[in-house]
Structures are given as structure tokens and as C-alpha cells.
Symmetry: C2
Subunit: 144 residues, 2 copies
């Protein structure tokens, strides 16, 4: 469904939202451990998300990643689109470039519904929406 890169990205932004909710920053090592990802790989991903303004960071002691007021309100759809592009929301299920309402692939209409639901779902939750349940230990971002 999502690329591995995208899965790491989603887990990371939710983790950062959670850990930096108190105004502090969270380092790359803690993030990597907290979401079970390769440290250097998630570093690259966050670098990319940083350039796109989806996460913020500061170098040096007490530095790390955090989210400003705008970033906290970004939806998971924003994250997915930043990493994987909008193919999952708009592309043809069978990979046909010219597939559209007028020249639909056999699955077109049936798939449309599902894609839309996915987009609505991902568009309706912000990265900080999970803070409470993570605090309460109701959901998890790693094997734990």
C-alpha cells in the first residue's frame, strides 16, 4: 500500500508529534529506536520531510526534531503525498496511465470508492491526533 519509506515516515512524524508535544526536541537515535527503523535511513527521510516543511529541526546540543504549530496540524495524507506522491489517491489500480472516467480500466469505478475512502481517512487525522492514545498505551509504534 505505502512504500517502506512512507511507513517509516508516518511512524516518525507521529512519534515526533508525541515526543515533542511538551516543546522539547527529539533526536534521531531516539526516533530510530522508538519506531524500529534504521537510524541513517530515517535520518534521510526526515531530511526530506524537513525540506518540505513537514517537520522542523535544530542542530547542536538539545537539538533534534520537533513540530511547529503548523506541522502538528498536517494530516497523514500530507505525509503520504510528500513521500509517495498522490499516485495512491489518483492513480489507476492497474497502472494504466490513460485510465480515466472516459477511458476507464475494468476496475476503475470500483476502485474509486476505495481510494476516496482512503484519502478521506488519511486526510481526517493529523499527526498529533495520536498523542493521547500513545500516552495511554492504547496503541504502539514499535514492537515494544
Amino acid at each position: 500500500m505505502f512504500s517502506k519509506t512512507c511507513k517509516y515516515a508516518i511512524r516518525a512524524v507521529i512519534f515526533i508529534a508525541h515526543k515533542s508535544a511538551d516543546g522539547s526536541r527529539v533526536g534521531i537515535k531516539e526516533i530510530a529506536k522508538g519506531i524500529d527503523s534504521p537510524e541513517h535511513f530515517i535520518a534521510k527521510i526526515l531530511q526530506d520531510l524537513g525540506k518540505r516543511g513537514l517537520v522542523q529541526s535544530l542542530k547542536g546540543p538539545n537539538g533534534g526534531f520537533y513540530l511547529d504549530e503548523v506541522s502538528k496540524k498536517h494530516t497523514l495524507a500530507d505525509v503520504v503525498e510528500a513521500i509517495d506522491g498522490d499516485g495512491i489517491f489518483t492513480g489507476c489500480a492497474l497502472g494504466l496511465k490513460q485510465c480515466s472516467e472516459i477511458k476507464p480500466c475494468p476496475l476503475h469505478s470500483k476502485f474509486k470508492t476505495i481510494r476516496e475512502q482512503l484519502q478521506i481517512m488519511l486526510g481526517s487525522v493529523t499527526v498529533e491526533n495520536f498523542n493521547d492514545e500513545l500516552n495511554a498505551g492504547i496503541s504502539y509504534l514499535r514492537r515494544n
Copy 2:
């Protein structure tokens, strides 16, 4: 959503169902052209689907691929599962192996609905279900 291999596979079986509905066989070259795929690559995929009993084939003159009565009734879910496995139906959206009802990832419950709908949708159409609309030129398997 699906791997490229899986997209080719779905297109191919629908194409074969369509072209062999009259009892004839359809060659690999015609299939490759008919679904816009690399010839040797789709050959490999069909070889695999053949071993799994999802398509039938005959070598030699007048040979080619076709579907027996059982294969015609296979659903697209069967094809997807044969190629990509059941990860898309059962796996965690965030790639967490231990994600489950008792240790859910943040997206678990919201995703469940969508995965189920996808499975129901793909499980409710057989590969031959599209023959009529393909004949009528209402849907397409290549740029055309």
C-alpha cells in the same frame, strides 16, 4: 497499492479471459500487446500463475494461454494473493509485524475498514466478469 508485477498479472488474466472466452488460446505476444507489458516479463508472470493453477497453457502451434472452467471463476483477490501475497489484506498499514487487535498501531482500526472493503471488492469479481464490457468497448486494458 499493487506491485507492478501484480498489475500486469491482473490485466493479463482479464485479457486472457476475454480473448479465450470462445475456447481458443491466446499467445504471449498478443497478450503483451493487448495489455501494454514487456513480453518476456509477462511470460514469467504467467508461468508463475500457471504453476499456481490460475491460468492454463498449451505449447506448440495453436498453443497459448486460456482459462479452464475453474480458472474463469477465480476472483481478482485470488490473483492478487498469488502474486503479492495477502499482505495487502492482512498486513499492518505502517509495516509493524506485531500490530494486531491487542497491540494495534495508531492506524489499525481505521485501516481495517478499508482493507476489508478492498478484499470484499476484489473477492466479488471474477476474471471473466469483465468480458462483456471489454467487448462493448466500455473499459480498456491498454492505451488503445
